[in-house]
Each structure stands twice: as C-alpha cells, then as structure tokens.
Amino acid sequence: MLRRYLLKRLVVAIPSLVIASLIVFTLPRLLPGDAVQLMMEEKAYGKDVDDLRHKLGLDRPIYIQYFAWVGNILRGDLGESLWTKRTVAEELGMRLPITLLLGGLAICFAIIIAIPIGVLSAVRADTMRDYVARSAAIVGLSVPSFWIATLVIVLPAIWWGWTPHLGFTEFSKSPVAHVLQFLLPALILGIASAAGVMRLTRAMLLEVLRQDYVRTAWAKGLREGVVVLKHSLKNALIPVVTILGIQLAQIFSGTVIIESIFQLPGMGRFLFDAINQRDYPVIQGINLLVVSIIVMMNLLVDLLYAVLDPRIRYS
C-alpha cells in the first residue's frame, strides 16, 4: 500500500516539475528584442546582438531550445554566467551550502519557538495567555524581516555601541565564527515561519483534544502532561509537518533579503545580484534549482506524512 502511494505521489510530482521548468525557461524569453540590445550596451555581454542571442540560445526555434536546455540540465550543464564567465553549476555549488545552513537553522528556530507556544496556547485556549500568544503570532506575520534586521543592526549600536558583525567568515578560517554568524539572520528568518507553525499547531491540537480517545485518556486518570504530550501532540503534529514544505519556499524568499543585509554570499544574494546585472543564465539556474529543491521537499514531506499517518495511504 505504501509503495503504491509512493508511486502515485511521484507521478504527480513529475508534471509539476515539467511545468515549473517551462515557467523558468519561458521567463527570459519574454525579453523583448531591445532588452537584449540593452544588455549588450549596458553590460557589454557579447560582441553584437546576434552573438548575445546565440549565447542565450535565442536564435533557434523555441521547442528545440527547450529540449536542448532540458538535455543540458540532465547532464548537469546549467550554462555559463555572463558576468563571471564561470559555469552556473560551479557558482551555485559554492553558494548552496550557505543558504542551506541558513534556511535549515531558520526552520529549526521556527520549530523550537512555535511548537511549545502552540501547545500552551491550545491547552490554555481562550485565556489571557492564549490571546497574547495568538496576537504575538499575527505580529510575527506582519513585521517585515528587513525591518527587524535593520533595528537589530541600528539599535544596539545606539544603546551599547555594539553592532552585529556584517560580512562573511570562511569555515576554514574560524569554524566557530562561521556558525555563529548564521544564528542572528536565521532567527530573524525563522520568526515569520514560527508564527505560521504556531497557529497551525494550536488549531490542530485543539481539534485532537476534542476527540474521544483523549477523553478516555483523561478518564483513565492520566496526568495532563501525558495526555497532551504523549497522546495528543503526536497526532496534532502530522499536518504541521506538511506546512513545513510551504514554509521552505517562504524562507527562501526571505534569504534574498536577509543575505543582502547581513552580506552572506548565499544563493539569495546571488539571485539578487544576477537580477541587477541581468545575468539570465544565472537567474534561470537558480530558479530551477530552488524549484526542484522545493518540489522534492514537498514530495518528501508527503511521504513522511504517509509514514506518520497510516490513514493517508488508504484514501
């Protein structure tokens, strides 16, 4: 049964990937002709317009371009950056670990903050503490990360004359400083996700706490901690796992801003730079990589869901 479910999910994921690749592929091709001219004049990519068109692969019939592009990708060839002249794959390889570490830490922070507060909020539903937690969650969703980041840099400087370090320390130079520099940006990135996860945890736990088997657990005279944490939370957390997939996309959006502010050389900042430099092969490469990671993670989350909750497999 599990195997059939796996297969079904895989088959559904493939069209999503194909359509996503079509979107990634089409975007630069929406470029009007004079934009190619502009790229050449502004950034001096290529010798003339035809040369640049050739480099971008815009001089062949569209369907041949697509299949050639997909063929190259399957062989691991994402093209060459117009700006640095290095291959896109090489550039991405250098930056991916930084963004993965930042995003991973952000998810961890989100979970550490959100789940205890969500549980407390559900157990003490409609009390003062619950209202405070829920309002705090909406505040968390409303406050832009770039504002928090700005305040974190500006305010300590005024109060204590101290600023968080901006810039990047290589792992080889100082492993401790390398990891430490990610903590603050990851915490800021995690806040918005924490708010979403907390709200879902609360809603799901409330639903589970209403069920009969929980009443039975209470009736057996079990302590509150056991009923909530052992009997209820396990089932309540299953849907929470699924939105972690969605949160991942949001966190990547956040890295574009946070990496720029904290000057971390990751994928988000690379994308932002590539967009300012109109470096289309890089934009395409990043988009494709990010979407593939997210589709894969969503697939993984679905599979995890099926393992955690046997009911899913049979529906």
Binding site: P15, S16, L17, I19, A20, I23, L27, P28, L30, L31, A35, S135, I138, V139, L141, S142, V143, P144, F146, W147, T150, L151, V154, L155, A157, I158, T163, A192, G196, R199, L200, A203, I243, A249, Q250, F252, S253, G254, V256, I257, S260, L271, F272, I275, R278, I283, I286, N287, V290, V291, I294, V295, N298
Partner: protein, 307 residues
C-alpha cells in the same frame, strides 16, 4: 406574477427603513465579538485616511527639504524627525501610505478578478481542464514568491504598473485554489441543479448563481491577501525593485543611502517599519475576524501570510 411583485413592493420600504440600523447593529456586534478584528479595521481606516488625505495631513510635501533641519530628532514641529536630506519623516510616512494603498488595492482587485475567472471556471468545467489548471497552480505556488516577482521585475523592468501586474499574477494562484474549492461546494447545492434543469445557460448559471455565492470567500481571501501584498511591495521597494523614487514608499525609506545615517538618526529606521507593520497587522487582524464571522469553514485553509 403580478401579485407576487405587489407583495414584494409592500415589504420593500419596511426593509429599507431597517437597513441602516441593521448594518450599524451588525458592525457593533462585530466590534464586541471581535475586538482585535475591530482594532484591525481601525488601523486599515487610518491608513486609508492617510492615503486619501495626504496633502492635508502631511506638514510638508514628501520631497521637500526643510532648510537647517537635517536629521533632527522627533519634536513638535517634526513629529517623526527628519532624514539625512532634511525631509520631514511624518510627511513621508503619510505620503508613503499612498503607494501601499494604491499597489495593495489595485493588485488585489486584479488578482481577485483573475482568481475568480480561473477558480470558478476550473470548478465549473472540471475534467481535464481542471486537472491542467490545478497542476499549473501547483507549480506556480511552489516558487518562492520573491523569486517569481524578482524574475518578473527583471524581465519587465521596475515601475508601478509592472509591480502591480507581477504581484497580481502571483497572488491570484493561491486565491484561485481557495475560490475553486468554494465554487465546488456551491455547485453541490440543489439550486444549481434546478437552474440547469430549467435550461439555464452555462454563463448565466455561473454569473447569477455561482459567482455571487463565492463572493464572501473571495472578500475574505482578498482582505487577508492585502496584508501580504503590502508586505511584498515594501520588500521589493526595500530591494530597490519596487516603486521608483521620488515617490516615498515605506520599504524604500528603510533602504538605500539613508541606511548609513540610521545609527545617528534611529527614527529614520523606526517609523517607516512601524507603518508597514501596523498596516499589515491591521489587514491580517481584520481578515482573520471576517473569516471567523462570515465563513468559519475557511479556518485553517491558509492563503497568504495569515495562516
């Protein structure tokens, strides 16, 4: 038939007379049951008043330099201080509401229109068309939102119109998903079946029976979405890909040349961010409360930032 019309016309004036107090009573009840939602509504109202009445509320024009008032702390003359170009921050924040309101409302209107068309047609036609549309929505939703907008803005170039267009295409995908769900449940109703049995045309069924019943859902999704759009607009403006200067946008006020002065003039960093947060907070609170009151079924079907 004539008697029926007569009967209605005798009832009508009575209902007219009750209409206003009833609306007022409903508003009062909403405020009592959802105080936080009402607070959100007030914040939204304040923002609208600031946007519409900017020339009267602001003390200066947004790009006017006040001689000899460079980086002054908040005072009776400059409520929010002045920036590094001697401009009054209060006036800039007030005018900044215009950009957020314009982008927010036009984007949401456009995206709701797209989402209605896509969502309702997907639910009504069904079959292979529905499958195909939903797969495209899936793929679209798996992109991080900033990546799509940044890429679109890179292709289209910066500007207010391009910003609105890319944001609305983006927002419409997730709204279309929710509206499709609502339309599917509306179509289960017997009145759709009877309309069909009476030989009513497809277009008429959709416009007269499906669309009006999906409206409540669309309004809730739009209200919650507005907060997200304002947040996205400010993020893009912060990155320099939003509304071009000299139009003051809250996001842009936190970015650019001013950043190096913020440690000496923290009010430059505090007030624009506070304005964004309060505006988004207002729409999120109002949207949440509206959803609970109008359509509790939507609880937990998060769209947009309010999940």
């Amino acid at each position: 038939m004539a008697r029926y019309i007569e009967a209605v016309s005798t009832v009508e004036p009575v209902r007219e007379a009750w209409a206003l107090p009833r609306a007022a009573r409903a508003l009062l009840l909403f405020c009592r049951r959802k105080p936080l939602g009402a607070l959100g509504g007030i914040l939204v109202l304040v923002m609208l008043i600031m946007a519409l009445g900017a020339p009267w509320i602001a003390h200066y024009v947004y790009d006017e330099s006040v001689p000899g008032a460079r980086m002054k702390a908040p005072s009776a003359q400059f409520w929010m201080g002045t920036d590094n170009l001697s401009r009054d921050m209060w006036s800039r924040v007030v005018y900044g509401a215009r950009v957020s309101v314009t982008v927010g409302f036009i984007t949401i209107a456009l995206s709701t229109l797209i989402a209605m068309t896509v969502g309702v047609s997907s639910a009504y036609i069904g079959g292979a068309y529905d499958m195909a549309v939903q797969r495209i929505v899936d793929a679209w939703m798996s992109f991080p939102y900033l990546v799509i907008i940044l890429s679109l803005m890179a292709v289209l170039g910066p500007g207010l119109l391009n910003l609105i267009l890319s944001l609305s295409v983006l927002v419409s995908a997730s709204s279309a998903r929710v509206i499709r769900g609502a339309a599917l449940s509306v179509m289960e109703n017997p009145y759709i079946e009877s309309a069909r049995a009476m030989g009513t045309g497809h277009l008429r069924i959709v416009l007269r029976h499906v669309v009006p019943n999906v409206m409540a859902t669309a309004i809730i999704v739009a209200t919650i979405g507005l907060g997200g759009v304002i947040l996205a607009e400010s993020s893009l403006s912060f990155l320099g890909l939003g509304v071009p200067p000299p139009q003051p946008s809250w996001g842009a006020m936190l970015a650019g040349s001013g950043r190096s002065y913020m440690q000496r003039a923290p009010w430059m960093a505090i007030f624009p961010g506070l304005a964004i947060s309060l505006a988004v907070f207002g729409f999120n609170m109002l949207g949440d409360a509206l959803r609970d009151v109008l359509d509790p079924r939507l609880r937990g079907t998060g769209t947009g930032p309010a999940r």
